[in-house]
């Protein structure tokens, strides 16, 4: 087992499939999609193997692989997983076969579509696995092109505008990050882009501040954080179903992942001094996203803004600077991926039938298509963080963590949860209940294939909702080390800055108090029970 380069295999399988499809004849739609399906199943298999090989309880990187790539410039090909990336890798691999299945009847330029899909998969997995900053950057930008194509070629009416907006936003952020990476390299003096080498740098406060902002440009746009979010609704709305799903399920996670992977450990001082701002932006994101979602008439746009809102929680968790929040943030990313991905899939199925996205055009769907309605309801519940479903298991720790850090932000974010319930249930009520009217008339229920796409996600939602322990078991050790590192700097640093983030004691005590059972005893059923109690 140890001899098999699992992580490379994880990247190589979708990449090879993309190349294979690229040389297949255009007309061979059926073979192409079969190959894509087989490739994504193999990828999922490898991901399962990675999950199995991952040693729980270890905070550091595992299954590492390293080969010199451009030795003159200190660039290497280094891959590895830790608690933060493992779940996101699994999520990505999990979605790949579903996405292929969802696009089963993609006939228009199918070849290019599946090439883009597979290339996207390889690049996304690579981003989570890369432990060399240049490799990370290369894959980060490499995602741009297939995603751009997915939106721009197979998207809706405004696809060109949305695609270019997406491309330029991400490119700008990425390039600023590149300059920051180079600055790190230069100040390292170690002539290396290795993640760990750069992690140990001594940087002055000002340097940290600027570099933090440069990285923030890249990740903040990806998340997206409030003022940089405008590309997302456009991209989501115009992208084809599968594009929206990938965007929601995986791509947006890269922002949160980047904060935890780079911003926090690399620039602890800047993180601490800017954390209040980040929390503020997170809260604004949560509330703004929710309020704007409430006003949407287009169901896809509504979900897109709900993404902005839910990902605000990820930012909150990451910058609460305690273990509860950070671990919750990782789990929230997984959960948001599942629930929003499923929502986009379901809305996509609806759109396939009616070619209509306006909420007002539907009424009483539940009576016509009970399976569809039921699945939509469960997914929406998951999205609005109903206890017992997965959404709750991420958002609740985040709220606790935020509350521990800045009580006011915690309270404000809780308001966001309530708003989420309002807009989702309101939309559900408008579309699914009432008399059967508008486009709902004559609607056919989901086909077995479509059920097959959504069912695994729903199963996972329920499973995680009832028993989130395994997730936290894997996340906690890594996050614990990370938060300790940052907090250690905070305590060593100027007291004034610490005061801004709230009581430092609360910051470091909170995780011990709340997550001690989950972190140390590897048993988070308690955690779960506790959550339910609190919710009551």
């Amino acid at each position: 087992m140890a001899d098999v380069p699992l992580l490379t295999l994880l990247l190589a399988v979708p990449a090879a499939v993309a190349l294979l499809i690229a040389v297949m004849p255009r007309e061979a739609v059926r073979p192409i999609r079969s190959v894509a399906m087989a490739g994504s199943l193999v990828t999922l298999g490898v991901a399962v193997a990675v999950l199995a090989a991952f040693e729980v309880g270890q905070p550091g990187f595992q299954l590492e692989e390293e080969v010199a790539w451009i030795p003159q410039w200190g660039i290497s090909y280094r891959l590895g997983v830790d608690g933060i990336s493992l779940l996101l890798v699994a999520l990505t691999a999990f979605f790949m076969p579903l996405v292929v299945l969802a696009a089963w009847h993609q006939h228009e330029r199918a070849k290019g579509f599946f090439v883009a899909l597979m290339a996207m998969g390889a690049a996304m997995l690579g981003v989570f696995l890369a432990l060399d900053l240049i490799l990370f950057y290369v894959l980060f930008e490499a995602m741009l092109v297939p995603m751009y194509a997915l939106i721009g070629i197979w998207g809706g009416k405004q696809r060109r505008y949305a695609a270019i907006k997406f491309f330029l936003y991400t490119l700008v952020g990425g390039l600023l990050m590149l300059v920051a990476i180079l600055y790190l390299y230069w100040s390292a003096g170690a002539q290396s882009f290795d993640y760990d080498v750069l992690r140990g740098l001594e940087l002055t406060g000002t340097e940290q501040l600027w570099l933090f902002l440069a990285f923030f440009a890249a990740f903040g746009i990806k998340v997206p954080i409030f003022p940089f979010h405008t590309w997302l609704p456009d991209a989501h709305t115009e992208a084809p179903t599968v594009g929206s799903v990938i965007l929601a399920a995986v791509l947006l996670k890269i922002g949160g992942y980047g904060f935890l992977r780079f911003s926090l450990p690399y620039f602890p001082e800047a993180t601490i001094s800017l954390a209040p701002w980040m929390l503020g932006l997170g809260v604004i994101g949560v509330l703004y996203g929710a309020l704007v979602a409430m006003m949407q008439r287009d169901i896809k746009r509504l979900i897109a803004y709900s993404s902005v809102s839910h990902l605000g929680f990820v930012v909150l968790g990451a910058f609460a600077l305690n273990q509860t929040g950070a671990a919750g943030s990782v789990v929230q990313m997984v959960n948001h991926g599942l629930s929003t991905g499923a929502l986009f899939l379901l809305v996509g199925f609806l759109y396939d039938r009616t070619h209509e996205r306006a909420i007002a055009e539907y009424s009483g769907i539940m009576r016509v298509t009970p399976v569809f309605g039921g699945l939509f309801l469960i997914t929406a519940m998951s999205s609005l963080a109903l206890p017992g479903l997965n959404g709750f298991t991420g958002e609740f720790p985040i709220l606790l963590g935020t509350f521990a850090a800045v009580p006011l932000a915690g309270i404000a974010a809780t308001l966001g949860v309530i708003l989420a319930a309002i807009y989702l249930l309101w939309a559900y009520q408008r579309m699914f209940h009432g008399p059967v009217e508008g486009r709902a008339v004559g609607l056919t229920d989901l086909t077995p294939r479509e059920i097959g796409v959504v069912a695994p996600i729903v199963v996972l939602m329920v499973a995680i909702g009832l028993y989130p322990g395994p997730l936290y078991d894997r996340v906690n050790p890594t996050v614990e080390v990370l938060v300790e590192e940052v907090v250690a700097v905070a305590e060593g640093a100027d007291v004034a800055t610490v005061d801004q983030t709230g009581d430092p004691a609360a910051g470091s005590d909170a995780p011990i108090e709340l997550d001690a059972p989950a972190g140390s005893d590897l048993d988070s059923a308690d955690d779960d029970d506790e959550d339910e109690e609190v919710s009551r």
Partner: protein
């Protein structure tokens, strides 16, 4: 010879001829003359070829005098004679094809010789690297690297041009000799160790390019672009020359290294130093097209026949930058405090203006012309870094740019043949569905020009940024980033047209371009873009080693 030597004044000696070091120039020039001869001989082509064989055999016989040259050289000379005779006998009714084949062979031979020289120089072998021919020539890393790039670009240019020139009825027999002679000028320029050789090199390559730009004799645009190029070229040469004259006046020499050291001497009149540097800078800025000395570029790129434009973009830039590097970074390193601020500002302005003006273009050749301006700005950053890292980065950048520009102009030659007109962005609508391979390759080149990872454009820009940050020029790196984003916008616009727009009816009627020599050339460039983008270490190594023995 000895009798003459006795008559020479004391202290004057006839320099040794370093045949090995200058053999690429001799090969290119010789091939140029041979192709010209075979073309002009008309019906008596076979006799001319036989005469050429005799001449080559004669040279081989001279080289065979014991101790003069290695047996392999003799064998190569005889081989060259036999090959050209065989080809002539085989292709004597198809003179253009004969010329093309011989040209490709000559370029390939140049690459081979340069590779051997590189090998030999690296092992301390028989190729002298500097102070050759009375300090006129320095066959160092910069020169060798340039030879590789120029010869490679030459091969691809021949492939791109063949059918295109026939279609436009401008397939003159003199085209191939001119191509070879231009390349001769470029390699001469890149190996110049004396300002006089810099001047002559620039003039040789420019003169040949003027003629090649104007080879479409009945095309007004081509004639205009050629004349504009000539006039502004001569104008800028005058500035360069004035600068050289002042350097000579201040130092009493035109040898780059000596003059550079003399100029740095505080006893040298400061006015002459400043004015000399400023004027040479203007001259070079014209040649490599830095804003505000760029105004010829878009017109000339647009007007010249497309394969010529491709060669101009790819090879001229390398040669001109090689000389720029040698004179400024190499020769005047100690005076960096004078010229680095000036070139930095020029580079910054160039990057921004080039990108911004490209955005508003509709004609693709013109757009690529402005993008060439922006790319000159990027390459210039490696120059102002004044370090081996910077020189290596610039060399690698130029190689990358050569590949990308050959590819993209190559695509344009194919499309121009298909549509029988200059290509505007609107003409590309729906190409992604009509000719997916072609469109995908074009997209690849454009993404590479934009510097998207996975392509050589990214690696090259990365090297430049690295050199800039290393030299403490972070602000230039930031300007590069800003410029890249602006530039990305217009590259993306083209990709949008190809893949996301509907194909208009009149374009759908046109045939899909079949596979041809040009598409082979483009494919080679595409493979290079990816290969160098994914696994560049070997070539980076080459560029960096080339940079370390410059001077």
């Amino acid at each position: 010879m000895s009798a003459l030597a006795q008559q020479l004044p004391a202290g004057v000696e006839i320099p040794e001829i370093p045949w090995a070091a200058i053999s690429p120039e001799l090969t290119l020039f010789g091939a140029g003359i041979l192709v010209l001869l075979l073309d002009t001989a008309g019906e008596r082509r076979r006799s001319a070829s036989a005469i050429a064989l005799v001449a080559l055999l004669g040279i081989a016989a001279l080289a065979a005098i014991p101790g003069e040259a290695a047996p392999v050289v003799v064998a190569l000379l005889i081989g060259a004679g036999v090959v050209q005779l065989a080809l002539t006998l085989w292709l004597h009714t198809r003179p253009r094809l004969l010329g093309a084949v011989l040209t490709v062979l000559a370029f390939a031979a140049t690459i081979g010789i340069a590779a051997w020289q590189y090998q030999a120089a690296a092992n301390g072998g028989p190729v002298a690297t500097e102070s050759l021919l009375a300090d006129m020539v320095a066959v160092d890393g910069v020169a060798l690297f340039t030879r590789f790039v120029v010869a490679g670009a030459g091969i691809i240019t021949v492939l791109l041009g063949f059918a295109y020139l026939q279609d436009r009825r401008i397939h003159r027999g003199e085209y191939y000799p001119l191509l070879l002679l231009t390349a001769t000028g470029m390699t001469l320029l890149a190996s110049a160790a004396d300002l006089l050789m810099v001047f002559l090199g620039i003039e040789i390559l420019s003169l040949a390019l003027y003629v090649m730009s104007g080879i479409a004799r009945r095309d007004m645009a081509s004639q205009e672009s050629a004349f504009k190029y000539l006039l502004l070229g001569a104008f800028s040469s005058a500035f360069l020359l004035y600068g050289i004259a002042l350097v000579y006046g201040a130092t009493g020499t035109t040898h780059i290294a000596t003059a550079g050291a003399e100029l740095a001497d505080p006893a040298t009149p400061a006015g002459l130093v400043f004015a000399g540097i400023a004027l040479m800078l203007v001259g070079f800025a014209f040649k490599v097209a830095l804003v505000p000395f760029h105004m010829w570029t878009p017109d000339v790129y647009q007007g010249a026949p497309t394969p010529v434009t491709a060669f101009m973009a790819a090879a001229t830039k390398v040669a001109a930058f090689a000389a720029f590097l040698r004179v400024f970074t190499g020769g005047m390193e100690q005076l960096a405090w004078i010229w680095v601020p000036a070139v930095s500002v020029l580079a910054a302005v160039t990057m921004i203006v080039g990108a911004v003006l490209a955005v508003v273009q509709d004609d693709l050749k013109r757009m690529l012309g402005y993008s060439a301006v922006a790319h000159a700005g990027y390459a210039a950053i490696g120059l102002v870094a004044v370090s081996d890292i910077g020189t290596g980065a610039t060399l690698f950048y130029l190689l990358a740019y050569a590949v990308m520009s050959l590819g993209s102009f190559g695509i344009l030659t194919i499309l121009e043949r298909r549509q029988r007109k200059a290509i505007a962005i609107a003409d590309l609508r729906g190409l992604g569905q009509r000719a997916p391979a072609l469109a995908a390759m074009f997209a690849l080149f454009l993404l590479s020009l934009a510097g998207i990872p996975g392509t050589v454009g990214f690696i090259a820009k990365f090297g430049i940024v690295r050199a800039a940050v290393d030299a403490g020029l972070v602000w230039l790196a930031v300007v590069l980033v800003v410029s890249s984003v602006i530039a990305a916008y217009f590259y993306i616009r083209v990709i949008v047209a190809m893949f996301m727009d509907e194909e208009p009816a009149h374009l759908a009627d046109l045939p899909v371009p079949p596979a041809s020599a040009a598409s082979t050339g483009v494919s080679v460039a595409a493979v290079a873009v990816i290969a160098l983008g994914v696994l560049p270490p070997a070539v980076i190594d080459l560029a960096e080693r080339a940079a370390t023995f410059a001077g």
